[in-house]
């Protein structure tokens, strides 16, 4: 499941210098994702996290992701 999420994130953020998905509990439904992308520069954290939520909308909606922690950074 981590690979599926990482794939969705890489598709949504093709220029990201870092995409990491950690299965926090090993159960395949509690994740911590990290995305570092120059495209985040100048965006508020709310705007950055919204982009991540958009990228993971499907697994969030269908219940695959029970809990999601997000870390985002620009390159600036």
């Amino acid at each position: 499941m981590s690979e599926r999420l990482a794939g969705l994130l890489r598709t949504a953020f093709p220029g990201a210098s870092e995409v990491e998905v950690i299965d926090r509990t090993g159960g395949g439904d509690h994740f911590h994702v990290t995305v570092v992308d120059a495209g985040f520069d100048g965006l508020s954290l709310v705007a950055q996290h919204r982009l991540v939520y958009d990228a993971l909308a499907q697994p969030l909606r269908d219940g695959t992701i029970h809990e999601l922690r997000i870390t985002t950074r620009g390159e600036g």
Partner: protein, 131 residues
């Protein structure tokens, strides 16, 4: 526009600092909600909490309004500041205090001034007395 959505919007606009959480300020049932409240406490902010658990429609209507899919959600002066990860990060870097200062002046510094308000029981906001 539903009555519930009106009430949620009113609460967001009227409360200087409001956190929508799973539980109350006294009894939180979710680690993420707890992280958000602890972040507010760590900077000495007073806040109102809204429990989303009594009715699943609260969460649905809130997310429709805020365009933010998860709980908790923390609003300052009517604007979404973030969920648990953002509020925690802002608190650790000093930016939460800066944001509160910028939007509310000094009035937010009210350590321990915490209460839980309902958006489902009317008329008006019902205040659950603190401990």
């Amino acid at each position: 526009m539903s009555d519930l959505q009106d009430k949620i919007r009113d609460t967001i606009e009227q409360e200087p600092v409001v956190a929508f959480v799973k539980g109350t300020h006294e009894q939180v049932y979710c680690g993420n909600s707890d992280r958000a409240l602890q972040a507010l406490r760590s900077v000495g902010a007073g806040f109102a909490a809204v429990d989303v658990l009594p009715d699943p429609r609260i969460r649905e209507e809130l997310s429709t309004l805020s365009e933010w899919p998860t709980i908790p959600q923390v609003f300052v002066a009517g604007e979404l500041v973030g969920g648990a990860d953002i509020v925690q990060e802002l608190a650790l870097t000093g930016q939460l205090e800066a944001t509160l200062d910028e939007r509310l002046g000094d009035s937010w510094r009210r350590p321990g001034d915490e209460r839980t308000v309902s958006v489902t029981e009317g008329p008006g906001l019902r205040v659950v007395p603190g401990g």
